[in-house]
């Protein structure tokens, strides 16, 4: 699941991070230029000691003040150059770096919107958020700072060593040998640190999830007064993260210790050796001076390797996390050669549809287990079944929010998997059982399924949009919108005005109707409406459904009565299809699911039924007697 690392063989850090390359590619020239500038800055700083050596061994030794100015001037120029190169490095790298980040972020978002609902069922949104924000931030900073400096500082160190050896072979070698433990430690550090870094990032995602749930579920928490309780849970998680972060700090402290200690010890030994060499006359004082000046310049690059490495490993885990989402294979995609339905009539067919949720074992019967059902064009079909029987699941299959496990769903004889998702969802519009509104005006929410109207500037489109809006609002009995502060331009949804449950549901219904689809799929669309409003909406919906194919999930007889036929969903199958009264008469399970009459009332209804039947039978008997008597009569006649 979301927080466990997949058991793929671990890529090397280099290979793992190299996966960013496609995103970074356009910016690579800039990054190289930035490295060039950084390297130039590094070299300049290394040249300064050479000038100093010349100064010490030259004018200072000979006591010629005339030579001081030129030397100082060179030092000054080099110093200015260093600043210029640093500025160039930033200039080159940083803005392109932000573009890489933006590109990756848009890519991630596009991938997330593309991935099927099953993926979103599985992933905590906090985990997704932390990938989209902090991880990408980290990668950007690493690319434009960590990466550049890591490369450049490594080169600087190598060059510096060469220069050091140049000053004094023995001292330089001493310095080199001393640094060997550092490389070993650095290697060990990676293994240890990467694991902790990964854990920390995952825990951050979990924390984001906890925060999100605590605000989305605030009503429940308030209703039960469980704010403190949820704080305890949150605090536990935050505590875990704290532990991990401290562990991380300990790992960093380990490498930090060696990075500080080794140069110091090397310095001390070099001092010893240097003084000895100078005493033997194998080294001038100026050279000794320059040696230490160079070594001092090298200190920062060496020390910086510590945090650059940890930053690199952080970036690596961030990359891993990013690609966990990007690598996810989308199972619900558009076909290569999509079919198209020019004029959909709205015949919707389920053909031996089997559907199993991803976490169900393969040997258990699916949630849907062989559905066969056809909705004729223009027909309204009610879907009835007990709670958890799979009604919502079945509606979700029609627009490929999930794909069938076996069998197929056809629209006008075309397998819906052969259509593009865009086209399919244009032909079929849905209203969900929870009415999700987006932060936008009432108008935009209702016309969500009609981008061609809202995004065009022509007056005709605007007029058409207005007409569609008015009609949809009227059908859903959503005239309350006109009394909102800014009418249909009032912002609703999370960032806007809160509406009552029934009001939200009516807007969601209006949205489905306004999409003007060939097939309307409505999941329990009237559950939050009062009896009167429900009756009004039903009457209006009937008009729409006269020409549109409709699949309506229903729990109440009143809703069912809108339908031409009813399909009964039972144990994953459609066990009966017929009109409401037919089913009521012949199907016991249907009576069980839909009959709201009390038992005695049911008995009364049955009594009436029986009486009717009796009367019928009576009638039939009388008919028979009649016929018989007539036969007798005839016979009589015959005999006569």
């Amino acid at each position: 699941m979301s927080t466990t690392t997949p058991d793929q063989p671990r890529l090397s850090t280099f290979r793992a991070i190299a996966r960013i390359y496609p995103y970074a590619k356009p910016a690579m020239p800039w990054i190289y230029a930035g490295m060039g500038a950084a390297l130039a800055a590094g070299i300049v700083t290394l040249i300064i000691p050479i000038v100093l050596q010349g100064l010490v061994d030259g004018p200072l030794a000979t006591g010629d003040p005339g030579q001081i100015w030129p030397a100082a001037l060179i030092v000054l120029v080099l110093g200015v150059l260093e600043a210029v190169f640093i500025m160039l490095r930033r200039l080159f790298v940083l803005t392109p770096g932000t573009h890489i980040e933006a590109r990756m972020r848009n890519g991630l978002y596009a991938q997330l919107q593309d991935l099927p609902v099953a993926f979103h069922d599985r992933w905590q949104s906090g985990q997704l958020l932390s990938r989209a924000v902090s991880d990408l931030n980290l990668i950007r900073r690493w690319l434009s700072f960590g990466f550049v400096l890591l490369i450049v500082n490594s080169i600087t160190i190598v060059i510096g060593f060469v220069v050091l050896i140049n000053w004094s072979l023995w001292l330089g070698l001493l310095f080199l040998v001393m640094s060997i433990p550092l490389w070993i430690y650095g290697y060990l550090f990676e293994n240890k640190y990467s694991v902790i870094a990964r854990r920390a990032q995952d825990q951050q995602g979990d924390l984001a999830t906890a925060v999100e749930e605590s605000v989305h579920g605030i009503r429940v928490l308030k209703a039960f007064g469980r704010g403190k309780h949820s704080l305890l849970k949150f605090a536990d998680q935050a505590e875990l993260l704290r532990g991990t972060e401290i562990e991380k700090a300990k790992a960093i402290a380990g490498i930090w210790f060696w990075l500080l200690l080794i140069p110091d010890v090397a310095f001390a030994l070099c001092l010893l050796g240097g003084v000895a060499l100078a005493a033997n006359g194998e080294l001038t004082v100026g050279e000794l001076f320059a040696f230490f000046a160079t070594a001092t310049v090298l200190r920062f690059p060496i020390e910086s390797i510590g945090f650059l490495l940890s930053m690199t490993f952080d970036a690596r885990t961030a990359t891993d996390r990013f690609f966990e989402v990007m690598d996810e294979i989308n199972t619900i995609t558009d076909p290569d050669e999509p079919a198209t339905i020019a004029a959909p009539t709205g015949r919707l067919t389920f053909e031996n549809v089997v559907f199993r949720y991803q976490d169900a074992a393969a040997d258990t019967p699916g949630t849907l287990n062989g559905i066969d059902l056809t909705l004729e064009p223009g027909e309204t079909m009610a879907l009835v079944g007990i709670t958890g029987s799979g009604k919502t699941t079945m509606t979700a299959l029609t627009t490929r929010l999930y794909d069938v496990t076996e069998g197929r769903v056809l629209l006008d004889g075309v397998d819906i998997r052969d259509l593009t998702r865009e086209e399919l969802r244009r032909h079929i519009a849905m209203a969900f059982e929870d009415a999700t509104l987006f932060s936008a005006s009432v108008r935009d929410n209702v016309l969500l399924g009609r981008p061609e109207l809202t995004e065009s500037d022509t007056p005709e489109a605007a007029a058409e949009a207005e007409r569609v809006l008015t009609e949809a609002l009227e059908i859903a009995q959503a005239d309350f919108v006109h009394s909102l502060p800014s009418g249909v331009d009032t912002t609703v949804g999370e960032e806007g005005l809160s509406l009552s449950g029934g009001q939200r549901q009516r807007l969601a219904l209006a949205r489905a109707v306004a999409a003007n689809p060939a097939v309307l799929v409505l999941d329990d669309p009237l559950s939050a409406l009062d009896v009167d409003t429900e009756a009004l909406v039903e009457a209006a919906l009937r008009r729409v459904l006269a020409t549109t194919t409709g699949l309506i999930v229903a729990h109440r007889p009143s809703t069912v009565q809108m339908a031409d036929r009813v399909a009964l969903l039972q144990e994953g199958r459609i066990t009966d299809v017929g009109t409401h009264s037919e089913l009521l008469k012949r199907n016991e399970h249907y009576r069980y699911v839909l009959s709201s009459l009390e038992d005695e009332e049911l008995a009364a209804a049955e009594r009436v039924d029986r009486e009717l039947k009796q009367a019928e039978e009576e009638g039939r008997r009388r008919d028979a007697i009649d016929r018989e008597s007539r036969v007798i009569d005839n016979e009589g006649e015959v005999t006569r």
Partner: protein, 602 residues
């Protein structure tokens, strides 16, 4: 003008006075975070000071080595001074490095303690804030505060603060060493501080606005992201993806642009510091070199002076980074302190009245309520619900039923008048007693990710497994829970996506059963249930509600059967009030509704 709380959060053009006010509240927050830890901070500083002093000693020891060690060796072939100096160097190296490493861990503990404290505070405070606040502030912003804003504060604490303190100390010690070694160079260094300060001030002024913009931009981005992921089904079904992608790309670009502008500013600041440093090195060199020629300065000292001057500016880059993260964190802290400054619209009482054993009489005393000024939802409500009575509340959608219910649960406080429980104003009642006595099952059945058992246990965290199962059985949820892959231990996924809508309602019902309150409010808690389940629930309710006060909001009038009394609401007023039998027999609204409902059955 003044800005309190989250007001003006989206702006970045504060006046001087506003800026000051905001900064003051950020500092107050910072102070309150730091205060409990002050002794640990002092201890950490001591470690840091010693470790830096030891690191700074390096060049002085080298100078000593060249100035005294080398001549001693040359003149008297005496190894002692050199050996001593080298020994001292190794010692300072080891202890300095060890202390620096220790500091890393200690300071991480410190900053994590602060972060934990801040996280918890924000969390608890957002839980305390009223629904009114949450409705206008949006969940995405709170998430942004808790994630990206806290991230930038973490960065400041993690590396920034270390950089600042060690940088300052390092510079201080280096400067001191320099002054002791050679006061003249000290003066040169002092002069260089003037442009340094000017540059820093310039950066501060310019970057503050820009950093605020990055916070606002990142919050917008997060809000949009969260909304998309929350409504992903609707996004897909209505083909909102391309439009979303465009909108999101706009937010991403704004954020990128805000970031890039900060970075560009920093791109001038940082090389500026280097420039000042390098010019100073050249100046020190000139001043020193002439004196070496004059014989007024030893050559080893010149080396030390140049090294010190160079090293003095070494941390400048780090300090610049610190300053960067400081500004970023300051902008974040401004937003967070704003949230923390928000006063809960439904505050806990200062002197709460205890109500150990509530009987359950609810009274609306001349209550007027409106969500916002323009529209009054409940104009004037006078209503008594005697203890133990079960009330059915019906009426057209948008009439104010949920609002009435939310007032009893004290999600909101009345604009005028009071709601009382057993004669105690809810505003004065101890929150614990209030929540124990009154529980509401809301219209939307929200489940948290976690197991089914956890979700039911939310009603009463102390409940045993048996009690949880009993509650589930009472509402008829037990069978379906048992049929889930792991029974009560099944994870319901985010928002309870793993179970069907009706099953979600059953679980939240079980939750309310487990809470066992004196007053139970059910807001369309059976709307998504099928009829058999609804009947089971009602059966359970009949026993449960026997001695409890209950308000049941339902459009399915079947509920009315178990009610003692029916209230019909219209436009925020109770238009009919009576026993079910009376009302059905009458000619009013309810009689008509009931008849219509009857007709709709079967």
């Amino acid at each position: 003008m003044s800005v309190t709380g989250v007001e003006g959060e989206e702006r970045d053009d504060f006046s001087r006075a506003e800026s000051k006010q905001i900064r003051a509240r950020s500092l107050r927050l910072l102070g309150s975070l730091v205060r409990p830890l002050r002794w640990r901070i002092v201890g950490t500083m001591v470690v840091l000071v010693i470790s830096i002093a030891l690191q700074v000693a390096g060049p002085a020891l080298i100078a000593l080595g060249i100035n005294t060690g080398l001549p001693a060796l040359l003149d008297q072939n005496d190894w002692m001074p050199v050996a001593l100096i080298v020994g001292a160097y190794v010692f300072t190296g080891i202890v300095g490095a060890a202390l620096a490493a220790a500091f890393q861990v200690i300071s991480a503990r410190l900053s994590q303690a602060i972060l934990l404290d801040l996280r918890k505070r924000v969390f608890l405070h957002t839980q305390r804030l009223s629904l009114e606040f949450h409705e206008s502030y949006t969940s995405g912003r709170i998430i942004a505060r808790q994630t990206s804003d806290l991230d930038s504060i973490r960065e400041l604490l993690d590396s920034g603060l270390t950089q600042l303190v060690s940088g300052l100390l390092y510079m201080g010690f280096t400067a001191a060493a320099l002054v002791i070694l050679d006061p003249v160079s000290g003066i040169v260094l002092a002069v260089s501080l003037i442009p340094l300060l000017l540059l820093t001030r310039w950066f501060q002024v310019r970057s503050q606005t820009l950093f605020r913009q990055t916070r606002v931009a990142s919050a917008r981005l997060i809000v949009h992201f969260v909304e998309t992921m929350t409504g992903i089904r609707a996004v897909k079904a209505f083909r909102k993806e391309p439009r979303n992608a465009r909108q999101f790309a706009g937010h991403v670009e704004d954020y990128r642009d805000a970031n890039a502008r900060v970075i560009r500013l920093f791109g001038i600041f940082d090389p500026g510091l280097v420039l000042i440093g390098n010019v100073t090195v050249a100046a020190v060199l000139v001043v020193g070199a002439f004196r070496v020629v004059d014989g007024a300065l030893l050559i080893g000292s010149l080396l030390a002076i140049v090294l010190y001057t160079r090293r003095f500016f070494d941390p400048a880059e780090e300090m610049a980074m610190f300053y960067n993260s400081y500004q970023s964190a300051a902008a974040a802290l401004e937003k967070i302190s704003g949230v923390l400054e928000e006063k809960p619209g439904v505050p806990d009482p200062t002197t709460p009245i205890d109500l150990w054993k509530a009987r359950g009489t609810v009274h609306f005393d001349q209550v007027k309520f409106s969500y916002n000024e323009d529209a009054v939802v409940l104009p004037d409500l006078e209503l008594t619900i005697p203890a133990g009575q079960t009330i059915a509340l019906v009426g057209t959608t948008g009439a104010g039923k949920s609002t009435l219910a939310k007032l009893i649960a004290r999600f909101y406080d009345p604009s005028e008048g009071a709601v009382t429980l057993d004669g105690v104003d809810l505003r004065k009642l101890h929150p614990k007693d209030l929540r124990r006595a009154i529980v509401m099952v809301t219209q939307e059945a929200y489940l948290f990710s976690g197991t089914v058992a956890d979700n039911i246990a939310l009603g009463n965290p102390e409940a045993s497994r048996e009690e949880i199962v009993a509650a589930a059985k009472a509402v008829g949820a037990h069978d379906f829970i048992e049929s889930l892959p792991n029974g009560y231990e099944t994870d319901v996924n985010k928002r309870g996506g793993r179970v069907s809508a009706g099953q979600r309602q059953l679980i939240s019902f079980a939750r309310a059963f487990l809470a066992d309150p004196v007053v139970l409010i059910l807001d369309e808690a059976t709307a998504s249930l099928d009829i058999p389940s609804e009947r089971l629930v009602q059966l359970g309710l009949q026993t449960l509600l026997a001695d409890r006060t209950a308000v049941i909001i339902a459009h399915r009038l079947s509920t009315v059967a178990i009610a003692d009394r029916v209230l019909v609401m219209e436009h925020g007023r109770v238009v009919e009030d009576g026993t079910p039998a009376e009302l059905i027999a009458g000619t009013g609204k309810f009689a008509q509704l009931h008849a219509a409902w009857r007709d709709s059955l079967v």
